[in-house]
Symmetry: C2
Subunit: 367 residues, 2 copies
Amino acid sequence: MMGESSNGLASRVGGQIHVIGAGLLGASIGLGLRAHGVDVTLEDASPTTALLAADYGAGRPRTAEDPDPALVVVATPPDVTADVVERALAAFPRSFVTDVASVKLAPFRELQRRGIDLTNYVGSHPMAGRERGGAIMARADLFVARPWIICRDGDTPAAALSLIEAIALELGATPMEMTPEEHDRAVGLVSHVPQAVASLLAGRLLPASEQAIGLAGQGLRDTTRIAASDPELWVQILGANHRPVVEALEALQADLAEFTDALRAPDSPGARRRIADLLAAGVRGVSRIPGKHGSSERFTTVTVLIDDRPGQLAALLTELGELGINMEDLRLEHSPGAQIGFAEIGLLPEVAGRAVADLTERGWRTL
Amino acid sequence: MMGESSNGLASRVGGQIHVIGAGLLGASIGLGLRAHGVDVTLEDASPTTALLAADYGAGRPRTAEDPDPALVVVATPPDVTADVVERALAAFPRSFVTDVASVKLAPFRELQRRGIDLTNYVGSHPMAGRERGGAIMARADLFVARPWIICRDGDTPAAALSLIEAIALELGATPMEMTPEEHDRAVGLVSHVPQAVASLLAGRLLPASEQAIGLAGQGLRDTTRIAASDPELWVQILGANHRPVVEALEALQADLAEFTDALRAPDSPGARRRIADLLAAGVRGVSRIPGKHGSSERFTTVTVLIDDRPGQLAALLTELGELGINMEDLRLEHSPGAQIGFAEIGLLPEVAGRAVADLTERGWRTL
């Protein structure tokens, strides 16, 4: 997918790319670009971080002899993105400048407010953040198969747009165009609001008894998994995108109040109907989430019991391969105190019946 | 785990077990008991359902010649549990009676209110429900590795308690004793509240644009997965356990209001601190959820890129087996539009470093 010897991108860039901010995203972009033969220079507010990223092969420090870069990539935390973009545009007035912050409107508005000429600036957002940050986690293939949103406006030069699209594509991402407003509203809904809700739900587990927590199943684990993310980073992201997130949280608050009110007196007229309507809306909402390959089809889940021994799951998957059954999704489920697990396999509905029959014949226990 | 020829349970029971309600749980209990040589009789409000379950081998219809059963298992929806338990106690005054409803206090209180002698009644709850119900989904091994909560009181005969414990154990479950109040509060927190929150969060996706939904990642998928569950069943469960659930939802509402208020003006004094505190509480809360085998240890996650071809994941797991690396958890992640996926492998921290080195040496790409 990423040819090590491809020089198409380097000649397309036609110069250097300067990365400001050598954390996970900046260093990963540097690694990816260098794998395509692009000359990458690096800087970071922390000289140690810049040196570390350089040691990892993400780029080299800029020198006085270097010409203006073709593109500056600002990969700093959202709180300082506008400042760093402003400085980059001033320092390199003939270079294109992009940023990769996970909020797009706040930095853009701040730059507009300062009266800066933004012709050469194009905001972007590769959706490839992970809980663990830092140059030490950087990977050239971090962006493979991820959306990379690009926020151009009418003044964006075609050359800037196509350069950033080419970089996104060569790093394995899927470029998508959105306005900053569309981007922030979308990530607010699909990323920032679920983060807030998962955190608040997980916070309610603090006063629970050990006995209650001991009954936790896969449902609770799934709904709260992302609550383990870094609070400091999320305070910045949520703060920078607070308007769409607050709007969505207010709508959720209203639904939660309606739901709780109805549940307070479930036998009063209409109460069960209101609860059922809200639950049914959830069924329809979750069915809108695309599965694998952008398809919104739901798979049929077949659950197979597996002993908790190394090799058991591999054996199951090997047999599925032998049977010519393509697995669309896989999830492992464990129960407290048990030496046995469940592999929940997502299959296309038309093969699920045969899969159960074939697996049963081979001695697997399916649910 | 479940010896087909074991007759220990049958002689322990010392008679018949009569199952009322031949849905997923009732039919699965019937199948499991019959695998242990127990004589199981079945009835259901729908004669067709009872016949279907009998055809599946879950038991046989009661006849006029059958003696009183040693135990009656009431496996009906929560709304009618009290009625059916009352009838069973009246019909078989010398038999023990249990139920398997997912709420425990409401049926118990209702039976008390009616002034019924509950000496022979012991409520229980095998936590083995699935989204898909019906006798057709029944499995003798449905209860393997699941908690089976038993709610006795001071009057419960030791013989009744030990009989139900023996059944739970022989069906592969882990019996746990709780009061009805403890049970309902616990499942309210770890199961009913997450269900409500996931449904409400998923419901907020209905008005979203296709473009926004297209950016959905694993975080949104995980937080909303259980929203696909059957609304009709959940209206009953939530209605029957509304007090603990409402109490927990009110606490969540208060947290959500505080969070939203702080986020509305994130630059006002103390606002970011309040947001950070709520997010940090989520980090601590999620760390309380037991992982595999009841352990609350967190695993180190290693992400491996896999092509979307049958056999790729099996090959990875086979190589992990060859390397002697025991996988503690596994999760597949797909991105929209991509022909590539990520296998997130949970490993004990002490083996994670070696696993990355070994896998990389064998040509796998890890993140």
